[in-house]
């Protein structure tokens, strides 16, 4: 009896220690202040010297050196391998450089930054009143009605990477059981949404954050049902790219014609910056509201499921929101900011092998970096620190 009591007390103590956070409190998500005189790129960004918008050219050189200095063996694809870097301040282009045969006209694979643009498609669908965030997915997409558990998955859960579906997001690390590899290249490639909806559940929908390309491709498949094939085929081109003046863009699809929103959007660096600029301006482009009010706030708020996600060291690397990343941290789970030397309001779309779109409202900065890093040699925090320090205070 005594032993059991001690054991129980110990267990309670251990459980408590998991939740003890050195930070405390809820994540802080400040509202975006309206930008008074946004500069719209019609059709292209205005190019200005960095000093004219309060940025030191000399200090910016340090960020350039960091990004473009090869640190590893090129033949073995090691080290930092930057393909493009574009920086904007106050809506004006202050820095642009390409390497490894890329140029301003060439599109680049964005990998998972595609997910953040798929989220833009949802903003547009929500604004049009075609879907609601708390709609169960099966309202629109039959494969999610396979049982009562799957019926609980809502669009919000999917956007928050909290569907609870038992996906395995390992890439090179565990190719045999990786559901993302099976989805893209083998068993799922003909119809990725259906493949993903067929996965069993590992957790109650909404309660655990697990980054999964499957959640995105189910969202993409839902949109196809919502719009109908004909309209869906044109959707990103007509509703996002055209209004933003983006014409040089490729969005690949699976065997059933569903956009592979998880992975395969190709854009130029300057065009991807336009997506960042749309979010920096709270979803307004050229004076017109494209995304619903509150959408960017939703974009910048950590996924609620973090509160009940079992603690692991990996959690600190992720601050997943609604198909974007934030630098808020999730204090309730002891998760600190992923880029402590960058402003706390920084948010981002990030992709495999070093694709990055950063939006920093407090500094009025947009940064796009494309690369082909096969190992973790490009330290985001170090790079962001250098860019931040280039801003003259």
């Amino acid at each position: 009896m005594k032993r059991s009591l001690i054991f129980l007390l110990l267990l309670t103590f251990l459980q408590c220690s998991k939740d003890l956070s050195p930070f405390g409190g809820e994540p802080e998500v400040t509202t975006l202040t309206p930008r008074l005189k946004p500069e719209w790129p019609n059709p292209n960004w205005k190019v200005v010297p960095p000093e004219s918008v309060g940025v030191s050219t000399n200090k910016l050189k340090l960020a350039e050196e960091y990004a473009f200095t090869r640190t590893g063996d090129e033949t073995d694809r090691k080290g930092r391998r930057t393909d493009a870097l574009v920086i904007l301040r106050n809506g004006k282009l202050i820095y642009e450089k390409y390497a490894r045969n890329f140029s301003e006209e060439k599109v680049h694979l964005t990998w998972s930054v595609s997910k953040s643009i798929l989220q833009t498609m949802y903003g547009i669908a929500v604004k049009a009143g075609l879907v609601k965030l708390d709609d169960p997915g099966y309202y629109h997409y039959e494969p999610l009605s396979r049982d009562e558990a799957h019926k609980k998955i809502t669009i919000r859960h999917l956007l928050n990477m909290s569907s609870g579906l038992a996906a395995e997001e390992g890439y090179e690390s565990g190719p045999l059981k990786s559901s993302v590899i099976a989805m893209l290249y083998t068993r799922g490639r003909k119809d990725m949404g259906a493949f993903c909806a067929g996965l069993p559940l590992r957790a109650e929908p909404g309660t655990q954050v697990y980054y999964s390309s499957c959640d995105t491709n189910i969202l993409s498949a839902i949109l196809k049902k919502v719009y109908g094939v004909e309209e869906y085929d044109k959707l990103p081109f007509e509703k996002i790219f055209k209004p933003l003046g983006i014409t040089n863009v490729t969005f690949e699809r699976d065997g059933s014609g569903t956009y592979i929103g998880s992975s395969y959007l190709y854009m130029t660096a300057k065009d991807l910056a336009k997506i960042g600029y749309l979010y920096l301006n709270d979803g307004i482009w050229n004076g017109e509201r494209l995304l619903p009010e509150g959408w960017v706030q939703f974009t910048r708020t950590p996924a609620p499921g973090y509160i009940s996600t079992p603690y692991s060291e990996d959690l600190a690397e992720d601050n997943y929101t609604a198909h974007w990343y934030a630098n808020t941290g999730v204090p309730e789970r002891g998760i600190h900011e992923p880029w402590p030397d960058a402003p706390k309001d920084t948010f981002a779309g990030l992709g495999h092998w070093g694709q990055m779109l950063y939006v920093i409202p407090s500094l009025d900065l947009i940064i796009v970096r494309f690369g082909d890093d096969r190992e973790k040699a490009f330290i985001k925090n170090d790079f962001l620190k250098l860019v931040k320090e280039s801003v003259i205070r």
């Binding site: 190719p175 590899i181 290249y185 490729t250």
Partner: protein, 103 residues
């Protein structure tokens, strides 16, 4: 005692059978990964990102080497054989890029 052992062995056998069946779908589709990854990523690298042939080989190559490779510029397709499986990716258009086309 004998009965106990035979029950245990049967259970073990059932477990192995279940395990093999569960993993079979992973194991059976695994060899196709090499050629489908190479063909799809090479196709997009060459036709969508418009990089050089050499750079695209470097982009798509994996730890397991491939045995056959064919870039068909006329039909805008890439066919690759690896681990005994062949896969083809085809470039469709500027909007929709490449997709895997083999069954």
């Amino acid at each position: 005692m004998k009965r106990k052992i035979s029950v245990l062995l049967s259970l073990l056998f059932l477990f192995i059978l279940f395990w093999a069946q569960w993993n079979w779908k992973h194991l059976s589709s695994f060899p196709s990964i090499i050629s489908s990854f190479y063909s799809k990523e090479y196709c997009s690298c060459y036709f969508v990102m418009q990089l050089s042939e050499e750079q695209c080989h470097d982009f798509a190559r994996q730890w397991v080497p491939i045995s056959e490779f064919k870039l068909d510029k006329e039909n805008t397709s890439v066919t690759v054989k690896g681990l005994g499986r062949t896969n083809t990716a085809k470039y469709l258009s500027k909007e929709y890029g490449c997709t895997l086309v083999t069954e």
